[in-house]
């Protein structure tokens, strides 16, 4: 039986992009469906009644939600090529730990950077850079968080890498002088074929960010 894979997504989403990258890493054919987040489809509400958020992967009619949970699922189902998580239990635990760190420590400051201004934005920038520095220290001199290969933590980070330029322009700061080796890894990730095919160009993302900022009256 042929697999039917649908991805409910939103084009600028740093979380949706993670699922797209994982599917392309595995060479999985999928149907991309764009959601209007201000008018969510009945399918989205039915498939993710708890959070009502994208991305949602629908595999043969069954939904998987939460971006890194989707990535793990993709890795486990299409396990024959390009492993995303390492095979060693200790390395897997480390990868999961750092993905948890990414999603708990980067999320709020990243959001606040483009939703606020003044003092609040300055505090958000500081927290964001602090968290990125901890990640840079974990990266060390490896080309990727996964070592020599692009993996679980790199996919999680690529969502944020895709928004770096927009965040920098919106909040008038520069990440590279603070985290040079992280930026080098980011550039490597952003050049990867599965990533290039999954991302819209940074100009479009920046334009979208400015539009959202207007909505937040900033």
């Amino acid at each position: 039986m042929a697999d039917k894979v649908i991805l409910l997504d939103f084009w600028p989403s740093p979380f949706g992009v993670r699922a797209r990258i994982a599917l392309r890493e595995k060479g999985v054919e999928f149907e991309y469906r764009e959601e209007n987040l201000r008018d969510k489809s009945p399918l989205l509400l039915q498939m993710n009644p708890v959070h009502k958020k994208i991305p949602v992967l629908i595999h043969n009619g069954k939904p998987v939600c939460e971006s890194m949970n989707v990535v793990q699922y993709i890795d486990e189902v299409w396990s024959d090529k390009n492993p995303i998580l390492p095979s060693d239990p200790y390395q897997r635990a480390q990868a999961r730990f750092w993905v948890d760190f990414v999603d708990t420590k980067l999320y709020e400051p990243a959001d606040k950077i483009w939703q606020t201004k003044g003092e609040e934005q300055e505090t958000a920038k500081k927290e964001y850079i602090e968290a990125l520095k901890i990640l840079e220290s974990e990266l060390g001199d490896k080309p990727y968080f996964g070592g020599d290969t692009f993996g679980f933590v790199d996919i999680a980070m690529t969502g944020y890498y895709s928004w770096f330029e927009a965040s920098e322009k919106l909040a008038n700061f520069s990440i590279e002088p603070e985290c040079p080796t992280l930026m080098a890894s980011a550039k490597r990730c952003l050049q990867r074929e599965s990533v290039v095919k999954s991302l819209h160009d940074s100009e479009k993302i920046l334009a979208f960010a400015y539009k959202i900022r207007k909505i937040y009256c900033v």
Binding site: N69, Y90, A93, R96
Partner: protein
């Protein structure tokens, strides 16, 4: 081959610490329990978890693993040939277990914890509504995941049972403190039956705190 040198940094009252303790019991892995004193953090904890400085931390041959649900997966991965499987074998069932475990930590437990701190009637009503919605979701999740068996994981307790069950003692303490039944057999009959079965499991009983002892501890830390 797995080393027998296993230590767990934790505290008896912490529901998060309970999770790896139950997992180690399921796998019959002996371990040294290094208890932290409430209100201070040991050198070993700060060295082993410099990022979050939190318990639990598993030390396996001196290598630290942090974050309770991640430790549970690590235990299942490492001692895979010992005892029952903690994570389900099917990838979809695993995705469901992980999804609900994250929901429990990010939404359900946050609501439960805020109940104890809730001030006026309005605030309490809002928390009750949140918890009831959460319980309804979890009741349905239990029916979907258990497929007629006693636990989320089927015949034996597993990852999702542990992720939710670890909060049952604190749930009882909260119910007593606010005089409100949070887990109600009338509203969530399957979940209530599951709770009873979970607490009686041999891997759980030795590490589940007694309600009276926990209530006394709660009074102390919240005063």
């Amino acid at each position: 081959m797995a080393s027998s040198d296993v230590k767990l940094i934790g505290a008896w009252a912490s529901p998060f610490v309970m999770r790896p303790r139950i997992a180690l019991n399921l796998k019959s892995v002996p371990y040294e329990f290094l208890q932290e004193t409430f209100g201070s953090k040991s050198e070993l904890l700060l060295k082993s978890n410099p990022v979050h400085k939190k318990i639990p931390v598993l030390l396996h041959a001196d290598k630290p693993v942090c974050e309770s649900n991640i430790i549970v997966e690590y235990i299942d991965d490492t001692w895979s040939s010992s005892g029952p499987s903690i994570l389900p074998s099917d990838p979809y069932d695993r995705a469901m277990a992980r999804f609900w475990a994250a929901y429990i930590d990010e939404k359900w437990f946050v609501a439960l914890r805020s109940f104890l701190k809730a001030g006026g009637e309005e605030e309490k009503k809002a928390v009750i509504a949140q918890l009831e919605e959460g319980n309804a979701f979890l009741e349905k999740a239990f029916i979907d995941c258990s497929k007629g068996k006693p636990f989320f994981n089927g015949d034996n307790i597993g990852y999702l049972d542990i992720a939710l069950g670890c909060f049952l003692a604190w749930l009882r303490v909260t119910e007593l403190a606010v005089s409100h039944k949070i887990l109600d057999e009338a509203k969530t009959p399957s979940l209530s039956k599951w709770a009873e079965n979970f607490c009686n499991d041999p891997a759980v009983k030795p590490v589940m705190p007694e309600t009276a002892k926990l209530a006394e501890f709660a009074k102390k830390i919240f005063s």
